[in-house]
């Protein structure tokens, strides 16, 4: 098993708790004294930093949300003078103002450390050639992986996103061993490989770290088969640090959270109540080493659960389950909660359907309607109308029994659903409900 930092990754629970508490107390003091937003929030509930004496006291602290970051745009939640900030990143801001995150030199070191752990867990070392096809720029994906890859001493190929044919050519010519990109882009690369007539055996690819969007076990299998690699899930969000917030080991049954830097909790998103180990709810993270933008009980909107059992890989770090959707990309259609990832699972279980699909939600009169466009493939196609209609019916029935929601299935020609070079666009919501 490959560890980057066995001392921290395999620490006993007692030692970890002690370390976390010490760091938590320091963080709370720092934000209380340096960030008016946190001081006000704590004062509102009658808290002073000295009230935080044990790990249980964490739950007394108020939550922080993405809206808080927007309200304090751009630098309002920073805890250091701007002279200490050496890097700024920002989220895309598709749902409003972008959120800006700042890093001190030490934060960059922390980020490199957690990404080095992530890559090492995926089998990377200084012999590796790591092709980083996440976008470089304000998005944290590209540079985050980059710094981790340099930290472990691998040969870094900073190709960034897009230019798919060139990606494939470079992958082949440079002997890439580790690929880093979004899972949907990994599938797109696999398709392009086929189109270019390159066999996966001509590549030296061994593993990939894929994240930045939800994906399913079936999608993992498809990537693994088509590229002949181990596909590892990684998790991160720019507000917390970027990629490196959680990573899979070779057991592939959960993502380890570097708890010496981030404390996770799972809460009921409605009530804020903390849920027990194993229960599914919203993941909340507190950073305990970050200087530029420390976050106290940040609501990630990602749905997950935690498992503290020591992993077969030897790591004692808690594992979170693969996020099974976001509480805010959840669609409510005729009162039914729908995560696009659920629909993806259904399509893949029907078999052979490449996961290229698009959900179109519309409101006709007062009724919400869901149309699912599914791309036709050579294996699904038949010269008989009856067979294709049966296929539509099969998908419709499976969706209905899984979600309790009827949907119109529409078979579309291959490659007509837009391929994204970053996050896949899975939903078009035409309802104007706001």
């Amino acid at each position: 098993m490959n560890y980057w930092n066995p001392t921290c990754e395999c620490m006993s629970r007692d030692e970890m708790t002690k370390l976390q508490l010490e760091r938590l107390i320091n963080t709370v003091k720092r934000v209380y004294h340096n960030v008016p937003f946190y001081r006000n929030k704590m004062q509102q509930v009658g808290l002073v930093p000295e009230d935080i004496k044990s790990m249980e006291d964490l739950s007394k602290l108020p939550f922080t949300t993405k809206q808080d970051l927007r309200d304090n745009y751009p630098y309002g939640l920073f805890a250091t003078p701007m002279s200490e900030i050496v890097r700024l990143h920002a989220s895309s801001g598709t749902t409003g103002k972008p959120t800006v995150v700042g890093y001190t030199r030490n934060d960059i070191t922390t980020w490199s450390e957690v990404m080095a752990r992530t890559l090492a867990a995926a089998g990377a070392d200084k012999q590796s050639f790591i092709q980083i096809a996440y976008g470089y720029g304000l998005f944290t994906g590209g540079l985050g992986v980059h710094y981790g890859a340099e930290r472990i001493g691998a040969s870094v190929i900073p190709i960034s996103g897009g230019n798919t044919k060139k990606q494939v050519q470079i992958m082949k010519d440079f002997g890439t061993t580790v690929l880093a990109c979004t899972p949907s882009y990994a599938l797109y690369l696999a398709e392009t490989l086929e189109e270019m007539g390159i066999n996966k055996d001509e590549l030296k690819l061994k593993s990939g770290v894929f994240g930045a969007e939800p994906w399913t076990e079936n999608m993992r299998k498809e990537i693994e088969n088509k590229l002949g690699i181990m596909a590892m899930d990684i998790y991160g969000l720019s507000e917390v640090i970027g990629p490196g917030v959680a990573y899979e080991c070779k057991c592939q049954n959960g993502l380890h959270i570097p708890e010496d830097h981030f404390i996770p909790e799972i809460i009921n998103p409605e009530t804020g109540e903390i849920l027990q180990e194993g229960k599914s709810g919203e993941l909340v993270l507190t950073t305990i080493t970050k200087e530029g933008l420390p976050l106290i009980r940040y609501r990630t909107r990602d749905v997950s659960s935690l498992n503290y059992k020591k992993c077969d890989c030897g790591r004692t770090l808690v594992k979170m389950t693969k996020p099974c959707g976001r509480t805010d990309d959840m669609l409510i259609i005729r009162g039914v909660n729908v995560f696009p990832s659920q629909i993806e699972s259904v399509l893949l279980e029907i078999g052979d359907t490449a996961p290229h699909y698009l959900l179109i939600v519309d409101r006709i009169g007062t009724l919400d309607v869901l149309e699912i466009q599914v791309e036709m493939s050579d294996r699904l196609f038949s010269d008989e109308v009856k067979r294709l209609e049966d296929l539509e019916k099969k998908i419709k029935n499976a969706i209905e029994s899984t979600l309790g929601l009827s949907a119109k299935i529409r078979l579309v020609e291959p490659k007509t659903i837009e391929r994204s070079e970053g996050k896949a666009k899975r939903v078009i919501d035409k309802r104007n409900l706001k």
């Binding site: 196609f381 010269d383 294709l388 078979l411 579309v412 020609e413 291959p414 007509t416």
Partner: protein, 143 residues
């Protein structure tokens, strides 16, 4: 005796048919017969062409979903009851017809019909037994 038929998946969008026939034309592929089966959302275009392998390849290269199926082409006398004789022969042998379509050939007093059946070889034997003229692939591709 089996004739290769090319089937293409098409969404019901304007211009798709023109695109398929355009690609075939550009590649010097001649269409002998065609039929479209459609639903509200999609259609299946079935084609008999002079160079089926080439047609399958160029259409796939252009991003279409294409399949190739074996069908039978028969020529029946162009008079009342002509088609019926052929269909009765198949019915008697319990051979189901998935679909069929007629087309105009250059011959004068025979009607040409494409049949898609589950057991094409057995169907050809039965048709031959009943003196129904089954056209060879070469004949059909050359029409």
């Amino acid at each position: 005796m089996l004739v290769k038929q090319i089937s293409v998946f098409l969404e019901n969008k304007s211009g798709r048919l023109a695109e398929v026939t355009g690609i075939l034309g550009d590649n010097n592929i001649d269409i002998s017969a065609l039929s479209i089966a459609d639903t509200t959302d999609f259609g299946i275009l079935r084609l008999i062409v002079n160079k089926p392998e080439d047609a399958e390849r160029v259409l796939k290269d252009n991003g279409f979903t294409v399949s190739c199926t074996n069908v039978i082409a028969i020529a029946v006398v162009d008079k009342p009851g002509g088609l019926s004789a052929a269909l009765k022969a198949l019915d008697k042998a319990a051979i189901g017809i998935e679909y069929m379509y007629a087309f105009v050939g250059k011959t004068t007093n025979e009607a040409l019909v494409i049949l898609r059946v589950e057991e094409p070889d057995k169907a050809i034997t039965e048709l031959n037994k009943n003196d129904i003229r089954v056209l060879t692939a070469e004949t059909v591709y050359g029409l």
